[in-house]
């Protein structure tokens, strides 16, 4: 670019473009106008996808991009600004996938001097990318073929002699293009929607970064540091004063504190076991509690954090006799519950699964699905030739087959949706827990929750935890408790949300599914989703913002952070508009790839009591609220309002929107 030098605040102002086919590597200056429109992170990556990945692009095509984006505030002093957003076309959903990871990758990339790393093409042999400030090279990785994702990170740091480098790597699952392969990085992983498979398809084993040369500048330093101080004080306050009346994992900040808490009564009795099938009421006995506590405390070496965050959501797990690894969140229980086993098994198999690099939600469900298919006679003993007979042994055996795509593992490696299609013979009935072809959280409930219905149906981040958060999951029993709750609820965009909550009752006229009403549901869902989209463009961890109740970051202080940090004029209306723009751009990418209303369906059995008519009305209402037509396509007018006229034009050219019609 030519012209006057413009000082860049919060961001660096450069992208790194790597073409694996030609080996070409370029540092490219970016246009600050784009920052004003889309901020960073997901906003920028979905714009890049829109501009450069046409809808015909196959997930495993050299033309598919794999983008590692930092959020606009990453590497500034803002606590928890450490998210890497990985964007590509998913082999599983065949839609635009974006999966996030915490840890240290995004800050390191920024200190190396880049806001976004854009990878295209396909390498001939297995390689890894080494980014050392402005020295960037592709290096042979043939000696790392088949190595575990954790092991690979260590080996690369050793061979480079750079213990301080941060490495994101795939394991065998990614190399073999398992549709739910993850990218692992230190204590974190980007695991949803098979982005590790795309990395494997590109023959890229790992990315190692060491960044020491790029200072991150702040537009209004004094103002910014005061905002950070407030957030830190709020964090200290919240951790010392959990929110009363909600379950422990929701009462404090962070992603669910699975590594800290030992009490798993709620998960083990409310979530479902096996192939997302049944609840076991009364599972959590004193004996189980004692045993699980011992297990957890004996393997958990230390609770650890991501870059610049005081909350300790992760842990180093060292099971005697097997290599140490790092874990966070709910993968602690997904293997245990899929296999009807215990916590000790969960920690052991998760070690192998982490080295292979698979998603902790989809992986166990796929294995439990295979077990069910065998019980139903759809898969036969022949498919299971050589499989041990004990329950745990079966899961290890399946895991090994899946990541190698051996025998029945080949079909299973495509996830339950595609595997069922391949296997046939009625297997589809058993792939019952997907939305948009992707396995969901294993939870089955009684009464339809209209708020959750909308979130499940329309979410394009696929995972419910990436949409929910700001509004309590259930009404409180007494008015007193409700009033107590709303007293310091400063995060609400306006007072009406308090009204919705105060009026909400467990039973009677103002209870689910008909209360909150359609309009209120739309507003509540929209608020929750908006906060996630803001986080994903700023790179702030949802665990400090959109996911927990009453977080330190919210719609009222975020504009100040953006103004003081990046020097952009901002207020909450302006920020809301950007979030909306980014939301619609993600949807535009997917609409162009064929996603429609028919795809926006929670699993049939998610709730026992369904209300088809109400559900249709909810969806109609929400689409309208969002500025989308009856089929879920953003209308020309709403696109134009969001400065997305280029999307409307493209939609018209492709006949997705009819000319002159909305």
């Amino acid at each position: 670019m030519t012209g006057v030098f413009k000082m860049r605040y919060a961001e660096v102002g450069y992208n790194l473009e790597v073409d694996l086919t030609s080996g070409n590597i370029e540092r490219v200056e970016t246009d600050p106008k784009q920052t004003e429109l889309y901020l960073g992170g997901l906003g920028i990556s979905s714009k890049l996808m829109w501009d450069r990945v046409p809808p015909e692009t196959e997930p495993f095509s050299p033309d598919n991009l794999l983008i590692f984006s930092t959020g606009l505030l990453c590497s500034t002093p803002a606590p928890g600004a450490n998210r890497t957003i990985v964007t590509t076309i998913s082999p599983q959903t065949r839609l635009m996938a974006f999966s996030m990871m915490g840890g240290f990758f995004a800050p390191e990339l920024k200190y190396a001097g880049y806001d976004h790393l854009i990878i295209r093409g396909k390498s001939e042999g297995l390689v890894y990318l080494w980014i050392n400030n402005d020295k960037v090279e592709l290096r042979d990785a043939s000696h790392l073929q088949g190595k575990g994702a954790v092991e690979t990170q260590e080996l690369i740091k050793q061979e480079l002699g750079e213990p301080k480098a941060h490495v994101a790597a795939i394991g065998l699952a990614g190399e073999n293009r398992v549709f739910f392969a993850s990218i692992e990085q230190g204590r974190s992983s980007a695991s949803r929607q098979g982005i590790g498979a795309v990395m494997g398809d590109k023959r890229l084993k790992a990315i190692a970064i060491r960044g020491t040369r790029s200072d991150i500048s702040i537009a209004h330093p004094q103002e910014f540091i005061e905002l950070c101080d407030e957030v830190m004080q709020f964090i200290e306050h919240r951790q010392a004063n959990p929110i009363p009346g909600v379950m422990p994992i929701l009462a404090i900040l962070g992603s669910p504190q699975e590594m800290l808490h030992v009490d798993e009564k709620w998960h083990t009795e409310s979530f479902v076991w096996g192939n997302a099938r049944e609840r076991i009421k009364g599972y959590w006995t004193k004996d189980i509690e004692k045993k699980w506590k011992e297990t957890q405390e004996s393997v958990r070496t230390r609770l650890i954090s991501c870059y610049n965050c005081p909350i300790k959501c992760g842990a180093v797990i060292s099971v005697p006799g097997i290599a140490s690894y790092m874990m966070k969140c709910f993968s602690k229980l997904t293997y245990t519950m899929a296999a009807y086993s215990d916590l000790d098994f969960g920690f052991r198999i998760a070690q192998r699964a982490t080295e292979y690099g698979i998603d902790g939600f989809s992986g166990p469900q796929v294995m439990a699905f295979a077990v069910e298919l065998r019980e139903a006679g759809i898969l036969t003993d022949k498919d299971f030739e050589g499989c041990p007979s004990d329950n745990e042994g079966i899961f290890y055996w399946l895991l090994d087959r899946i990541v190698r795509r051996e025998g029945i593992g080949d079909a299973l490696a495509d996830g339950t949706y595609w595997a069922a299609k391949k296997i046939g013979k009625g297997a589809e009935e058993f792939a019952h827990n997907t939305i948009k072809k992707h396995e969901q959280v294993p939870i089955k409930l009684g009464m339809l929750n209209p708020i959750y219905f909308l979130m499940y149906a329309t979410g394009e981040k696929i995972n419910i935890t990436q949409i929910e958060g700001q509004f309590p999951q259930a009404p409180f029993a007494t008015m007193e408790d409700k009033q107590e709750f709303v007293k310091d609820w400063i995060q609400v965009p306006d007072e009406k949300y308090k009204e919705y909550f105060l009026k909400w009752e467990p039973r009677g006229e103002f209870s689910m599914p008909f209360y909150p009403g359609i309009e209120a549901c739309c507003e509540i869902v929209d608020w929750m989703e908006r906060m996630h989209y803001i986080d994903d463009s700023l790179g702030i961890c949802a665990g400090l913002s959109s996911f927990p109740l009453k977080p330190p970051y919210h719609i009222h202080n975020y504009p100040k952070f953006i103004h003081a940090g990046a020097g952009l004029e901002m207020d909450s209306a302006g920020l809301t508009k950007i979030a909306k723009r980014n939301r619609n751009l993600v949807r535009a990418n997917n609409i162009r790839r064929g996603m429609r209303r028919a795809d926006e369906k929670p699993p049939e059995n998610h709730w026992r009591r369904r209300f088809p008519e109400l559900e249709e009305k909810l969806l109609d209402g929400y689409y309208k609220f969002k500025g989308w037509n009856r089929d879920g396509i953003p209308t020309k007018e709403s696109l134009q309002d969001l400065d997305l006229a280029y999307v409307a034009k493209d939609f018209e050219e492709r006949g997705i929107l009819k000319n002159g019609q909305s």
């Binding site: 500034t76 200190y111 200072d215 230390r302 954090s305 610049n308 005081p310 790092m326």
Partner: protein, 181 residues
């Protein structure tokens, strides 16, 4: 020399409480930016974290004195079965490694306990470490009077070592008189 009252400032480092977040590095570099907080880069920090999670090694180390030459021998510690690398516990800005040096100039960095006017309640790295791996304490003690080496003096000493007296004085003279090179 005479006895004087001196404030002893101590930061207690409890490595068992460290979660590896590197907030201390980030905020130290931000505090020492000019103007304050206008930028940050942990590489410029006067505290550095040695962090090897799989080995359970978390060691915040403070930048100490500049060393002209490396030590005659090195130390390697094993504590609780954990093997630390050579020099891990050393605070020196020393030619044998790039720790505690400004990344562009190579000039040595030293922890100054966040000295500033007006004085802070506690050093920034301590303030940002809310898990209390770093805890600050002050006490009064009588000590022998001593001349403090200032930042500038320390930097000059490095340049002196690198370029020799003649070159340094010549350059200084030229720069201050604005004479063309």
């Amino acid at each position: 020399m005479a006895k004087v009252k001196k404030t002893i400032k101590t930061i207690t480092v409890d490595v068992d409480k460290c979660n590896g977040c590197r907030a201390c590095e980030m905020i130290c570099s931000a505090f020492h930016a000019e103007p304050k907080y206008s930028s940050n880069n942990p590489e410029r920090s006067r505290i550095r974290l040695i962090r090897l999670p799989l080995q359970d090694i978390y060691l915040p180390v403070y930048a100490g004195e500049y060393a002209e030459a490396e030590c005659a021998g090195r130390n390697k510690y094993i504590i609780d079965g954990k093997e630390y690398s050579e020099c891990d516990f050393c605070r020196a800005s020393c030619p044998s490694r790039d720790l505690f040096k400004e990344p562009d100039s190579g000039l040595p960095l030293k922890c100054d306990m966040c000295e500033s006017e007006p004085p802070l309640e506690e050093p920034l790295c301590v303030k940002w470490c809310i898990n209390e791996a770093l805890v600050y304490e002050e006490r009064e003690e009588e000590v022998e009077e001593q001349v403090e080496i200032e930042d500038l003096e320390r930097s000059l000493k490095v340049l002196l070592d690198d370029f020799g007296e003649e070159k340094l004085i010549g350059t200084l003279a030229r720069l201050t008189q604005g004479e063309p090179r």
